[in-house]
Every structure is written in structure tokens, then in C-alpha cells.
């Protein structure tokens, strides 16, 4: 069944888009990531212009992260204090990111920059996660405790001043790394047009030693707030949010996120991290492939304006 999208200006198959929403929603609920780094390329692949895709995906991510966040909130797997701390820094990071975005666009190298940052970030983060979770898995096989929360596993990060206690996550860390992580997520998210969940989750786990149980719910709150405000910003400035497209994606995403969240909570943390690592790494390779392999068509068109 075809439906014409009013802002994207083209007809799409409603079931195809719904299915994409379901699939990405499942993944986002399972891993606590927004899924923007999966959904945006998918939409561009079916012919939607990148600008409309990025803008509309933000509202889809807001919906599926909200439903996920509620789910985690009920299961008390959500650290509001930590999320608020991250958010306050994230907003500052977003402003810095938007500034760099404008600068790069002015010098006409934005596309390349986005491509390169996708490749570097995704492959690096993916590889580290795979390595770490495989090691944890092997430790578990040998009968050693697989958990990362060993006594004495404190790093220099834990020696920093301005310590804060986050009760729900059972951590006692300095505010400095929390702020730094929030800033980086906001910054990178603004440049790459993503929620940053796939970065945030491993950072919280590895740097702050936040337990896997609360990390996903917390990450979802951050994703929710950044993506909801991104929707409003995109709509107010560029008029590029396609509400019809967003609605179809949301419905699929919300249903998918419910099942994803359940599947995720049944899984062991190490296994979950390994899967997310593989996924992130694969998408990174896909972007690298695009940059390195000779394209089918050397030429491409971009709309500059219409009168």
C-alpha cells in the first residue's frame, strides 16, 4: 500500500516503512540506543532525501526511547540523577556541535566529515566492545566472575574531585567525567545527526562502571530529551520533519522497542554488549566500504534550491 509523504514529496510503501520502524525499534529497545545510525541510512536508501530523513528520524527515536524509558522506569532500571547530569552537559555539547556543523558546511566538507566520523567512531567503538565482551565471556567460561564491578577496579577517573553518589546505579564518581561524557555525546550527536546512544552506553559502562542494568534506561532518557528537542529545532528552522513518515516509523518503532526491551533484559550483559558491538562494527564497515570501494556512479545530484 503506497502513501504519499507530504514533506519528503514521494510515495512510499507503508508496510515497508512500518517494518523498518519495527526492526530498528526492536534493536533500540534491546540495546538502549536510539537507532538513528541505522534508520537514517535506511530511509536514504528508499529514496528519502538525507535532510528529511535526519529530521524525521529524530521524532521516531524520541517515541521509541520514551516507550523504552517508561519500561525501564517501571523496572526501576533508570538513574534519573545521572541522566540529568549528563543532559545538562549534553546541551552545551550540542551547541558546540552545531557551531562546528555550520563551519564545516561553509567550507563544503561536511559530507566527508560525517562519513569519516561514522567510520572511525563506529568501527572503533564496535571493535572495543567486541573485544571486551569476548574477554568477559571467556572469563565467565573459566568460572571466574564475569562482572566488571570488581572491588579495586577503580581507574584514575575515580580519583577526580567533585564526587557525587548516584544511588540507583550504585556508583560514586566525580562529576568531571560525567560532564565530559555528556558534552561529547551532545557534540557528536549534533554533527552526525544521531542520538549518540551507541556511544553513550559503552562510555557509561567502561568509564563510569555504571551497571548494565541501569545504563540502558539512563541512556534512553538522554536520547529522548535530545531527540525531542532536535525534532522541534529541525521543524522550526528547516521545515523538514515529515509528520506522516514520522508517524509510521513511530508506530513500528514503539512496538518493536517493547519486544526489544524484553529480549534485552532476558539476556546477559556480556552477550548483549557483544551483539551491540558486532552491530555497530558492521555498520561502521558498511560506511568504510562506501568510502573505499569505487562507486557505481561517480556523479550525484543535490538540491540547492527551488524557486
Amino acid at each position: 500500500m503506497q502513501i504519499y509523504l507530504p514533506i519528503a514529496d514521494l510515495p512510499v510503501n507503508i508496510f515497508l516503512v512500518l517494518g523498518m520502524g519495527l526492526a530498528v525499534g526492536f534493536i533500540s529497545g534491546m540495546f538502549g540506543i536510539g537507532g538513528g545510525f541505522l534508520m537514517t541510512p535506511l530511509l536514504i536508501f528508499i529514496g528519502i532525501s538525507p535532510a528529511v530523513a535526519v529530521a524525521s528520524v529524530s521524532s521516531h527515536i524520541a517515541a521509541s526511547s520514551f516507550t523504552g524509558a517508561i519500561n525501564y522506569w517501571r523496572k526501576r532500571a533508570l538513574d534519573v540523577a545521572l541522566a540529568m547530569m549528563l543532559l545538562s552537559a549534553g546541551i552545551v555539547g550540542t551547541f558546540a556541535g552545531v557551531w562546528l556543523f555550520t563551519f564545516l558546511r561553509a567550507v563544503d566538507q561536511l559530507d566527508l566529515m560525517i562519513g569519516l566520523s561514522y567510520v572511525t567512531l563506529l568501527t572503533a567503538v564496535g571493535a572495543v566492545m567486541i573485544y571486551e565482551s569476548v574477554r568477559a565471556e571467556m572469563r565467565a567460561r573459566k568460572g571466574m566472575p564475569a562482572t566488571l564491578r570488581r572491588p579495586g577496579s577503580h581507574t584514575w577517573l575515580h580519583g577526580l574531585p567533585f564526587k557525587l553518589r548516584f544511588k540507583r546505579s550504585k556508583i560514586y564518581v566525580s562529576a568531571i567525567p560525567v560532564w565530559a561524557i555528556g558534552f561529547i555525546i551532545g557534540f557528536v550527536g549534533a554533527i552526525m545527526g544521531i542520538g549518540g546512544g551507541f556511544l553513550l552506553v559503552p562510555m557509561l559502562i567502561y568509564f563510569l562502571r555504571v551497571p548494565t542494568a541501569t545504563v540502558i534506561g539512563t541512556s534512553m532518557v538522554l536520547t529522548l530529551v535530545t531527540m525531542a528537542s532536535a525534532t522541534v529545532m529541525h521543524a522550526a528552522t528547516n521545515h523538514l520533519v515529515d509528520a506522516v513518515l514520522a508517524l509510521i516509523l513511530m508506530v513500528g518503532g514503539v512496538i518493536g522497542a517493547q519486544f526489544g526491551a524484553r529480549t534485552g533484559q532476558r539476556m546477559r550483559g556480556e552477550r548483549l554488549r557483544l551483539l551491540l558491538g558486532l552491530l555497530v562494527f558492521a555498520v561502521g564497515l558498511r560506511f568504510a566500504y562506501e568510502l573505499v570501494v569505487s562507486p557505481d556512479d561517480l556523479y550525484s545530484l543535490r538540491h540547492v534550491g527551488s524557486e
Binding site: A63, V241, V254, P295, L298, Y299, L301, S306
Partner: protein
């Protein structure tokens, strides 16, 4: 009077090549307005017309050739070319096509190259190859030769998306003087005003010319959403964000187990 002016214009346009201009073109479009609704998947328009002799001139020449050129609202596009640099492919070079038609269809009863001499076709801009596609080259704006790689790539990419097309079979002569042209409007047609230019040829010369127009507009819900997004961006964004929250909440209520 008006017809006289039109005839005069035609004489001017043909450069007075054919003073014995004796034909008149009468055309009618099946639909002057295409409404893009939520179920829009493209539409085919039909242009009907006849060739009539000017009053007092009984004889008509034959056979006739007809070229219909449909142009969509102008837009500016950038054609980019990738190049390998340090092992990766990046958009290294680009050309801007300034105010070119967003839709261009050249429909005729036989391939345009067979209809008239290349010089005439070029002067009258008949055929996609002869259509003026101005590029920004440095500070200047000019069209280039046909085999310019950027121009060729631009036309090829537009043809791939169905927006540029040339067909030597889309016009049918039902009788020697009555014709019918099928104008395909794919689902991705841009909205706006379209111009239809109809040129009649006989033995390699243009003998008559007329115009028509059509409009592609968004209608109903599509129009409502598009207008809201453009005119009340902030409100629209807030509504979309609230819709996201509502659907997210609704989903968690529906799927609640405990």
C-alpha cells in the same frame, strides 16, 4: 487581434523562415491540475489536438511532425563528481545547474533527430540535448556542449529518477491532422506550474506553435501538513514531538504486562 499577435510572434520566433505560415494548432489537455493526495502514485496526462488550416487556406501540408515539450518549475541543483583521494572517494568537483526545469519531457511522434535539421533543433531547443541547461561556471552562467561530462551526468541522473525523458513514440497522429500525446507524470513530480510547448513541423520546418500549462498541487491532508510545516514550523515541531511522546506512552500502556 490576439491571434494576429500570436501569429506575429510565431513568425518572429521562426525567424521569418516560413512566411507562408498556414496552420493553426488547437490543443487541449485532459487535466490542467494534478492534485497530489496521500494516494498519489503518479498520473498520465493526455494532450489532444488538431492541426487546422488558417482561414481561406484550404490546403494542408503533410506529413506533420509534432514535438511537445513539458517543463516543470525551475530549480537549482548541484551535480557532484567523486574522486579518489588518499584511498577514499570524496565529492571533489561539482557544478551548479541554475534554474533548470525540475521536470523535462520531450515527446514527439518520431525521434526528434529525424524531424528537422540539427541547427533548427538547436535554435528551437527541441530535444533534451538541445535544451538550455545553464551551469554556473566561475562567475558566469552558461550552457555547455552536449557531451560535457557534468551535463551528461545531470541528464542521466534526472532520467533515472524519471524526471527527464525523451520519447519518439509518445505522440500519435490519429488522423493526419489529429494527434494525441501522452504526458507521464511520475509519483515524484515536483509541485508547481508546468509549461507545455507544442511545436508543429512540416518538411523539417516549424510551421506552428502553441502553449498550454498545467499545475501540480498538493491537496487535502497533504496540503494541510505541508502548509503547517512551512508556516508554523515551531508549532508543527512541538506537535510532532508531542505525538512521539504520546505514541511512546501509548505503546508502553498497551504492552504493559505487570
Amino acid at each position: 487581434m490576439r491571434r494576429f499577435a500570436l501569429t506575429f510572434l510565431i513568425v518572429l520566433l521562426t525567424g521569418g523562415l516560413n512566411p507562408a505560415l498556414a496552420e493553426r494548432l488547437v490543443v487541449s489537455l485532459s487535466n490542467h491540475r494534478i492534485a497530489v493526495t496521500s494516494s498519489f502514485v503518479g498520473e498520465n496526462l493526455v494532450l489532444f489536438g488538431t492541426v487546422e488550416p488558417e482561414a481561406g487556406r484550404p490546403a494542408l501540408r503533410s506529413p506533420y511532425d509534432l514535438v511537445v515539450t513539458v517543463t516543470g518549475p525551475p530549480e537549482t541543483l548541484r551535480t557532484r563528481r567523486k574522486q579518489r583521494m588518499l584511498g577514499i572517494w570524496i565529492n571533489a568537483d561539482s557544478r551548479e545547474f541554475v534554474r533548470v526545469p525540475s521536470y523535462l519531457a520531450v515527446l514527439s511522434n518520431r525521434p526528434v533527430a529525424d524531424i528537422a535539421h540539427p541547427d533548427i533543433l538547436r535554435r528551437l531547443q527541441v530535444g533534451v540535448d538541445n535544451f538550455l541547461l545553464p551551469q554556473r561556471i566561475g562567475p558566469d552562467i552558461a550552457d555547455t556542449v552536449n557531451d560535457d561530462p557534468f551535463r551528461a551526468a545531470f541528464v542521466r541522473l534526472e532520467a533515472q529518477s524519471g524526471l527527464y525523458r525523451q520519447s519518439g513514440t509518445a505522440v500519435t497522429f490519429l488522423t493526419p491532422t489529429v494527434f494525441r500525446a501522452a504526458i507521464p507524470m511520475p509519483a515524484n513530480v515536483p509541485t508547481g506550474n508546468y509549461a507545455i510547448d507544442v511545436k508543429l513541423f512540416a518538411s523539417g520546418m516549424m510551421v506552428a506553435r502553441t502553449n498550454s500549462a498545467l499545475e501540480v498541487i498538493k491537496a487535502g491532508f497533504e496540503q494541510y501538513v505541508a502548509d503547517a510545516a512551512r508556516d508554523n514550523g515551531l508549532l508543527y515541531g512541538l506537535t510532532t514531538a508531542l505525538m512521539a511522546l504520546f505514541i511512546g506512552w501509548f505503546g508502553s500502556v498497551v504492552f504493559r504486562r505487570d
